[in-house]
Amino acid sequence: MTTEQHQPGWRVLSASQIGSVHLRDHLPLQDSVHTWTNGTQAIAAVADGHGHRAHFRSDTGAALATVCAVEELRRVLGDLDDPETAGDVVTSAAAALVDSWVAKVQHHIEANPYDATDERQAAAISDPLRPYGTTILAAAVSGDLLVVLQIGDGDSVIVTDQGEALRAVADDPQLDGLHTSSLCEPDPLSALRTSVLDARVDDIALLFLCTDGFGTNRVDAEGWWRQTGEQLVDFGRTRGLDWMRDQLPGWLEEPARIGGDDTTMAIVVRADLGAAAVTRPVPTEPTPLPELVNTLDRP
């Protein structure tokens, strides 16, 4: 049996829904999600562009952040072969991500300079990154090695094969539900949180990344992410990954409507999780897709 045959396969599911407040206020979708996979390696990135009017280009900032995250993590995927060095690799990738994001934002500003006659844009001239403010959450998996990086709010959660959910990165004490760390700050790497996990040792079935729109309005404010993880593993095992992919936009629609904020989730899941579900009957019809905007990635 070759080494390749031992490599676990991974799939990525993702979707994004615009929040009801964004629709009300004629704001764009300011979340972004970008993913990549070749079957044995996978990358997912989600970003939440800040909604404050000072961050009036945060939809672009979020989109650039997810692009940069996938680019930089793809660049180091080949180096993710040793748990001992993977921490340094992901930290370096995060630094490169920040540099790349700043460079791309500056290119965007050059192409779309601020209008000094506009009060809001004029204020950005002295702090040019601020209008693009965004969080970034990203994960990469290569074989059994899984790395996570995060700057700002949102949730990165790993879930074991038994359905036990664990926070993928340490808490950020600066996050109080009202303020967040951001890529637009002078030293975003001071708020960088990373982790390295061995999917085989830790028995990881999946990882999900979501913007704060998904969890903020949960009745069970402390435990919703555990329930989410347990459900995802159960759904994957009993209904299959295609069913999860089809349900994901609908799962995001309700928090986006009730909570008002854009809501985005990316799931990196072991491809064999749903293998047994193929032979099982589907208990219920899939719920219809909502009418709101979504960016479902269909591999």
């Binding site: 929040g19 009801s20 407040v21 009300r24 206020d25 939440d48 800040h50 909604g51 404050h52 009017r53 000072a54 961050h55 403010g133 700002g152 709010d153 109080d176 539900g177 009202l178 303020h179 967040t180 951001s182 729109g213 998904f214 969890g215 903020t216 309005n217 949960r218 009745v219 069970d220 404010a221 435990g223 919703w224 992410w225 329930q227 989410t228 459900q231 995802l232 159960d234 759904f235 349900q247 799962w251 309700e254 928090p255 409507r257 009730i258 909570g259 008002g260 904020d261 219920t284 719920t287």
Partner: protein, 232 residues
């Protein structure tokens, strides 16, 4: 297992608190009547705001103050359930704003400590200079408010009534120099300014964004004659 991922959802409370001056000077020039009319008129607008913000549960409280603070509506009450009963000014009543801010702070300290609520919106209306007959200065009351997590993050707006309003204190209450400080000089202005402030505060406080408030709404231009400034 439910097909709904992540469990049940609920609207987050948005606490909206009016802090109203009912000192003796509010009896002059029909100010207290105008204030009552303004609150009555703002309620339909707040109901509209509540309907336009389905993600937020708009809850109203009203704190009046003269010689001492007094909750007019102490329990957070849905705007749909508010039936406004007219306030009376306290004859020769002082302007114990510092004491009122302590009472307000105490109420805020009972709010949920988790992040499952929007920052409160607080609208202060006063026509005079804060007194300290109770022993609590305005500065002490304000500091207590700002030391409270919710007080510090609240969307704070203030309206002066007439020329004797202490605009310096009201500005300190607001804190943010970019937030307009308005002075109403006649009943029509008071109504219009309270409606504006209420809608602006509601929108800012309920916007689920990171980075806090930031009023973008432009306040209305003064209308009518400045009768309270000329009559004193």
């Amino acid at each position: 297992m439910s097909d709904r991922l992540g469990g049940a959802l609920a609207r987050k409370p948005l606490h909206f608190i009016f802090v109203l001056d009912v000192s003796g000077s509010m009896m002059r020039g029909g100010r207290i009547q105008a204030l009552n009319n303004a609150i009555s008129e703002v309620l339909p607008h707040l109901r509209d705001e509540a309907r336009a913000n389905p993600h937020a549960e708009l809850l109203i409280r009203v704190l009046a103050f003269a010689n001492e603070p007094r909750w007019v509506i102490e329990e957070p009450t849905s705007v749909e359930d508010i039936h406004w009963e007219r306030l009376e000014a306290v004859p020769r009543g002082f302007t114990e704003l510092g004491s009122a801010l302590l009472t307000l702070t105490d109420a805020l300290s009972h709010l949920d400590e988790s992040s499952s609520a929007y920052p409160p919106a607080i609208i202060l209306v006063s026509d005079g200079r804060p007194t300290q007959s109770s022993g609590t200065t305005f500065a002490e009351g304000l500091q207590a408010l700002l030391n409270n997590r919710w007080g510090a993050t609240a969307v704070r707006l203030a309206l002066g009534v007439g020329r004797d309003a202490d605009m310096h204190s009201l500005r300190r209450f607001i804190g943010d120099e970019d937030v307009p400080l308005l002075r109403a000089d006649n009943p029509e202005q008071l109504v219009e300014y309270i409606v504006w402030a209420s809608k602006a505060a509601s929108k800012v406080a309920s916007r689920p964004v990171v980075g806090g408030g930031g009023l973008s709404a432009v306040p209305p231009s003064p209308i009518g004659d400045p009768i309270w400034s000329t009559l004193g």
